[in-house]
Amino acid sequence: MIPLSAYVALSAILFMTGLVGVLIRRNFIVVLMSVEIMLNAANINLVAFSHYLHSMAGQMAALFIIAVAAAEAAVGLAMIIVVFRGKMATNVDQINILKW
């Protein structure tokens, strides 16, 4: 029997990988992919707790997270297309017109 802490440690590792990816990458699309890694880490955590605490609530939350991830990908990629059309760039440090 795998202990719950193994799943929690795995999810922490994946979450930090995604967070570091958001911080260090310059390509906006890869930044969005790192956000997907973080959402997946949260999903592992929720499903593991749902399994070990005998409740369906975690699986429902994971399902809703997947739906939100789909919406986030659609809107984020549409924004990238708009910015790319105007500036021909997907680097996050070139997209700084809203910076004050």
Binding site: M16, V20, I24, H51, M60
Partner: protein, 179 residues
């Protein structure tokens, strides 16, 4: 056997996650993300969540990742010399520090709480998909409707954002030019 599968899925997930963050070409990053998603789906099977396994493969690997690949192919980006941030060593250090503290806190936690009624025996009587369907359409019905409206809004927003702006027509007085 469970341990073997868990170690395989966990190792490949972590390696694929690191590759997603570290690889230079964005298309390779997307393929590493695909590997990560498929192995996380395998972890869901180990946790008796077959419905989520199917949703993960169909929605994540099938729909979301294809969307990413479409946009990547559409833009036809050149691989850059510098794909990481200039000060990435500091950020890596900060991330590792936060991760160490997180891991210490997690491994000290007791992990107990109120145990629910959906034990594996109860779920296996009718099947996991039946159990999750009953839960979704009884306790979480309002949230289910809200997520439907939310997805509709997201789709409309994405279409409006990505639409090609109309050419300004000076002959048309009703036309309001886009800034």
């Amino acid at each position: 056997m469970m341990w073997l599968l868990f170690i395989y899925f966990a190792t490949v997930s972590i390696v694929a996650g690191v590759l997603t963050v570290a690889l230079r070409n964005a298309v390779y990053c997307a393929l590493a993300l695909l590997t990560l998603l498929l192995h996380v789906a395998g972890l869901f099977v180990l946790l008796n969540a077959e419905f989520l396994f199917a949703v993960q493969i169909i929605v994540y690997a099938g729909a979301i990742l294809i969307l990413y690949l479409f946009v990547l192919m559409l833009m036809n980006l050149k691989t850059e010399e510098q794909h990481l941030h200039k000060k990435y060593a500091f950020l890596l250090f900060a991330g590792t520090g936060v991760f160490g503290e997180l891991l210490i806190l997690l491994l000290q936690s007791p992990y107990d709480g109120a145990v629910g009624t959906a034990t594996p025996d109860v779920i296996l009587q009718t099947g996991p998909s039946h159990a999750i369907g009953i839960t979704m359409f009884s306790d979480y019905l309002l949230l289910f409707e809200v997520i439907g409206i939310f997805l509709l809004g997201a789709v409309i927003g994405a279409i409006v954002l990505a639409k090609t702006p109309a050419k300004a027509d000076p002959q048309d007085p009703a036309h309001i030019p886009m800034p």
